[in-house]
Amino acid sequence: MAGRSKKPPAGASWLRTQGPGYPLVLSCRARLARNLEGLPFPTSAKEEETERARGMVLEAVSRKVAVDRDWDIRFAEELSRDELASMAEEHLTSQSFADRPPGRAVALSWRDGRSVTVNEEDHVRVQAVMPGAQFMKAWRAADKIDSSIESEVQYSFDQKLGYLTTSPSNVGTGLRVSAMLHLPALVITGEIARTISALGQAGVYVRGLYGEGSGVAGNLFQVSNRQTLGRTEESIVGNMDMIARQVSDNEKTARKMMLRESPLDLADRVYRSLGILERARRMSFFEALELVSMVKLGIDLEIIPLEDFNILEVGVGAGPSHLKAVLGGEAEPEDIDSERAVHVRRMLDL
C-alpha cells in the first residue's frame, strides 16, 4: 500500500470498469467548486493566503473526509512534474497543476475516483468520477464530501447568487457534471455537427478528451452543463443523464446507418486501423487514439473478432506521461512514440 501511494498505478478503477451506458458512455464526473469566506480567490491570492487556505481545507479534509486508508493527501510541490502530469492524464487534477504553482494540494481516493483539489482555480474543488452513466451517484459522492468539509469551514455563500466562485461561470451550485462519450459513427457520418449544435442550444458544452481545450482526438467527447445557477443540483444532474442518453441514441442510429448503407467502407476503415496498429513501430498520442477508436468501433459492431477493451484505459495508458513513467529517466519523445506502439499492441493483445 505504501509503495502504491508513491507510484499511483495507471488506471483508477473507473478507467477499467464498464458502467451503465457502456460502450458509448465511458465515464461520468461531478465537480463542485467552493471558496473560503474571507480569503481572496487563489487566482489573485498572495502566497501566505494560499498557504492559509490550504491549511484550513486540508485540516477539514483530514478530519472529516480522508478518514480511511483509501485516501492520500499530497502537496503539489512534493510531487514530481511527471507524477502531476500523469494525474492530469487521468483527469484527477487539471493540467494547470503540473506547473506546480505554490500552495496547491490534492487529496485522492485513487481506487474510486474521488478527489479534493486545493487552490486550483477555486480554493476547493470536490470531484467524483465513476464508470459509465452514474451521474446521480457521482454527484451524491461529491456532495457528501462537500458537506463534510463544510461542517468545518465557512464557505463564501450569497443568499441570491449561491456559492461564490472565481469564475462567474461556476457561480450558484458550483456544480459541473460531465460525461465522456465515444462517438466514432457520429464523426464519420458527419452527424456530429448537428448533435453539437443541438447540445449548444440546450446549454451543454462539448469538448475533447482532455477537457479544457477544444481539440477532439479518438472521437472521445466530453459533454458538460454550462449553467450552474438558477437550477437545483438534482435538475442539473438529471438533465445530463438525459443528454448522455440522447447522444448515445444518436450514435447508435449512426452506427446502424453505417452498417446498413456502407458496410464495406466501415470494414475497410476498421481493418486499415487495425493493420497500422499491428505493424506500426512508432505512433503519436493522437494517432494512437484515432486508430484505437476505429478498432474499438469494429469490436462493438462485431466486425473484428478481437477481445473487448476500454478505450479510456488504453488511451490514458498511451498518454505521454504514463509512458514516460514506464520508461523512466529521461525518455526522449522518440522513445515514447515507440513505446506507445508497443503499449497499444499489448493492450489490444495484437
Binding site: Q159, K160, Y163, T166, P168, Y210, G215, L229
Partner: protein, 180 residues
C-alpha cells in the same frame, strides 16, 4: 507531399483533430507542439469567449449601459483591488467581494451567461432556518406561477397551501424575535 501545421504553418502536421468552436465542427491539421498548446486553454476560456459578445450586445441595446460598462472598466474591487478590466481580460474575479463591487455590469454578464440570477440549489448547513424558508418560498412562488400558466390548478392549490404554511412559520419566527 508533407502537410504543414495550420496553426504555425512551419512544422509538419502530424495531428489531425476535430475542432469545436462554438457550434462549428471542423477538421484541423496541426503539429504536436501546436496541438499541445490547444489543450492548455483553461475553463475560464468558455466565459471569456462569451464576454465580448455579451458586453457588445449590451452596448447595442441600451446606450446608458455603454457608459456603465466603460466606467466599470475603471472600477476596482475595494477588497482585493481587481478591476473590471482585469476580469474582462482573465475571466476571473479576485475575491467574493468583487461580486458586489462590480455590481450591475457583472450581474448582466451572469444573467446572459447563466440565464438566471437566483441560486436555488444547496445552501450551507449553517445558513439560518429563516433564510432557508425564504428561499423555499421564492422557489414555490415560481412553481405556482408556472402551474397557473399551465392551468394545473390542482397542483397549484397544493403549492399555495405550502406557501401559506411557510409564511406562517416565517411570521412566527419574526414575532419570536427569532435569530435571523
Amino acid at each position: 507531399m508533407n502537410i504543414f501545421c495550420e496553426e504555425c504553418k512551419k512544422n509538419i502536421a502530424t495531428v489531425f483533430l476535430t475542432k469545436i468552436s462554438g457550434n462549428e465542427v471542423s477538421k484541423v491539421q496541426l503539429c504536436e507542439e501546436c496541438a499541445a498548446r490547444m489543450e492548455e486553454t483553461t475553463e475560464a476560456a468558455n466565459l471569456l469567449a462569451f464576454l465580448p459578445q455579451i458586453l457588445s450586445g449590451l452596448q447595442g441595446v441600451e446606450e446608458h449601459l455603454v457608459e456603465d460598462v466603460l466606467s466599470c472598466e475603471l472600477i476596482s474591487c475595494d477588497s482585493c483591488g481587481t478591476s473590471f478590466n482585469d476580469f474582462q481580460k482573465m475571466g476571473f474575479l479576485g475575491c467574493a467581494r468583487c461580486y458586489e463591487s462590480f455590481g450591475e455590469a457583472l450581474m448582466k454578464v451572469i444573467i446572459e451567461f447563466q440565464e438566471s440570477e437566483e441560486h436555488c440549489g444547496k445552501m450551507p448547513g449553517k445558513v439560518s432556518e429563516g433564510a432557508r424558508l425564504r428561499k423555499r418560498l421564492v422557489d414555490l412562488e415560481r412553481d405556482l406561477e408556472h402551474q397557473i400558466a399551465e392551468e394545473e390548478y390542482e397542483a397549484a392549490a397544493a403549492v399555495r397551501d405550502q406557501i401559506r404554511e411557510i409564511e406562517g412559520r416565517l411570521n412566527e419566527e419574526a414575532s419570536d424575535g427569532g435569530q435571523e
